[in-house]
């Protein structure tokens, strides 16, 4: 990597890797995003099964982590257009299943690429994307697929994601900055996966996660959510279904 200050590190190059990345997701994500069932059940599998796919961007000047990439390999023989609507949840479950069954993998899938808020706007998203693409190559996989979370969709919770991904800037690029960064790096948009992540909680849990109150059933706007959530008071159940965008980097 040309930025000498920043180095790509993994758990094998840096024994203190776990400590360095600890707490990063807490800083990066709104609280409710940390209550995704598939993520919470499987997160440990990343380092248990796919350690060589997990990396961080290490700021050697300040001895801390500026970004992190999490991915894994899976087997996908279908057409890209047929990738499941259950995006992120499907990919994570599938990768673990494939690994348990010792199925030969052919596809790289990234489930999280984050940059610490204090390191945003410094041109690090492009090196982060390149680092993930480098993993695809290093592992001898054909392509990199990502159920991508468009970073500014949360400002437009009433717009359907199918419309939003067609939005463009004046110079014809993808409107969403994160989508744009990937397209610039060579990615193609495949389609929306509408039920990529499912977050479910009681009314009390959602009140704690969001600092809002939910006195009646209905739809609510939640800061940081890409769509509105639906609260059902009778069932004491609040449901957020996050849509993501399947994109592909073909090498």
């Amino acid at each position: 990597m040309k930025y000498q200050r920043f180095q790509v590190i993994t758990s094998s190059t840096h024994p203190e890797y776990r400590n360095l990345v600890r707490g990063l997701t807490r800083i990066v994500w709104p609280e409710f995003m940390r209550h995704e069932a598939v993520a919470n059940e499987n997160w440990h599998e990343l380092l248990d099964r796919f350690a060589e796919y997990q990396f961080a961007l290490y700021d050697s000047e300040n001895n801390r982590v500026a970004g992190m990439g999490n991915s894994f390999p899976l087997r996908w023989d279908g057409a890209l257009d047929d990738l499941p609507d259950t995006g992120w949840d499907w990919a994570f479950t599938e990768a673990v299943k494939n690994h348990k069954q010792r199925i030969a993998v052919n596809t790289h899938c990234a489930i999280q690429i984050v940059i610490h808020p204090e390191y945003r706007g410094q041109g690090l998203s492009s090196p982060m994307i390149e680092a993930v693409r480098a993993v695809t190559k290093a592992q001898g996989l054909q392509k990199l697929i990502i159920p991508l979370r468009p970073s500014e969709k949360s400002k437009y919770p009433l717009i359907s994601l199918d419309d939003y991904i067609k939005w463009q800037t004046d110079d014809g690029q993808a409107f969403d900055p994160w989508l744009r960064a990937h397209v610039r790096a060579g990615a193609k948009i495949i389609k929306v996966c509408h039920t990529s992540k499912i977050i479910r909680g009681s009314r009390a849990e959602w009140e704690e996660w969001t600092k809002l109150k939910f006195p009646q059933s209905g739809r609510y706007i939640i800061p940081g959510a890409l769509n509105s959530i639906t609260m059902n008071i009778e069932m004491d159940d609040g449901l957020y279904i996050e849509p993501n965008v399947w994109i592909v980097h073909e090498s």
Binding site: K155, Y156, P157, L158, I159, D163, W167, Q168, F175, L212, K213, P215, Q216, G218, R219, Y220, I221, S228
Partner: protein, 251 residues
């Protein structure tokens, strides 16, 4: 905060009264709220016709204006339940019209009570409401009505205002902080006025007023707005209709 620190003042008490009051409005309102045409066209009438109904709270310690309020008198001989849906915009025009026609007023309406952000959370709002009622009482009026803007509704833009005003806190008082201030000093909720303010702008204006982009027709959640706004690309027009709540204080 020491209550004696704050002194009620009237427009003649300060040479730059209107500018200082304007600074408080600038600091507290989201930009789009400064573009209600009725307010912008007629604001000067408050001082030209109804000067004795305007007042502010002056912080004698820091020599600055901590809060300001506007109200006006009008004539109303029907049941309060019949106050119009067009709330704020209506009462402003009605008061001017009555004054122009030489109609003797018999009721007072609040137009605005605004606490500078630096002074919020110190109980000044209740004092401002009471000071406003004292003016109406000195004129011999029996009622102070107010098209109240329930501030916190902006966090619940998808909830109907008719439902929202019934939300209560653990003490059984209104959930919304501004509604609660009025109820605590003795006011009753009459009903919502669903079209209290009407703010219209081109797409470029709305992009300027908010930090958003409007790339297709539809509803958008705007920070600080009580309901979503509706953007129509073909007509190059975004419309925000603000609901308020008619409340009444017996004087």
């Amino acid at each position: 905060m020491d209550v004696n620190r704050f002194k009620l003042i009237a427009p003649p008490d300060l040479p730059n009264y209107r500018a200082l009051a304007g600074d408080i409005a600038d600091a507290s309102w989201p930009e789009f709220m400064m573009h209600d045409p009725i307010a912008n066209e007629h604001w000067h009438e408050l001082f030209d016709r109804f000067n004795e109904y305007q007042f502010a709270l002056f912080d004698t310690e820091n020599k600055r204006m901590a809060a300001m309020a506007n109200s006006l008198p009008f004539y109303w001989d029907q049941p309060l339940e019949k106050l119009p849906e067009t709330g704020w915009d209506w009462v402003f025009l009605r008061a001017i019209e009555d004054h122009q026609n030489g109609v003797t007023p018999n009721i007072q309406s609040a137009v605005q009570i605004n606490i500078h952000p630096d002074y919020q959370g110190h109980g000044l709002s209740a004092r401002m409401v009471q000071a406003m009622g004292a003016i109406g009482k000195s004129k011999g009026f029996r009622h102070l009505v107010a098209p109240v803007r329930p501030n916190q509704k902006s966090k619940y833009p998808l909830t109907n205002i008719d439902d929202y005003i019934r939300w209560t806190n653990a003490e059984g008082l209104p959930f919304d902080a501004w509604l609660r201030v009025h109820v605590r000093v003795g006011a009753n909720i009459i009903k919502p006025c669903h079209e209290a303010m009407f703010i219209r702008g081109s797409r470029a204006e709305w992009e300027n007023w908010t930090s958003l982009k409007f790339l297709q027709s539809g509803e958008y959640v705007v920070a600080g707005a009580l309901n979503p706004i509706r953007m129509n690309m073909e007509k190059d027009e975004g419309i925000y209709i603000e609901p308020n709540v008619w409340m009444v204080h017996e004087l």
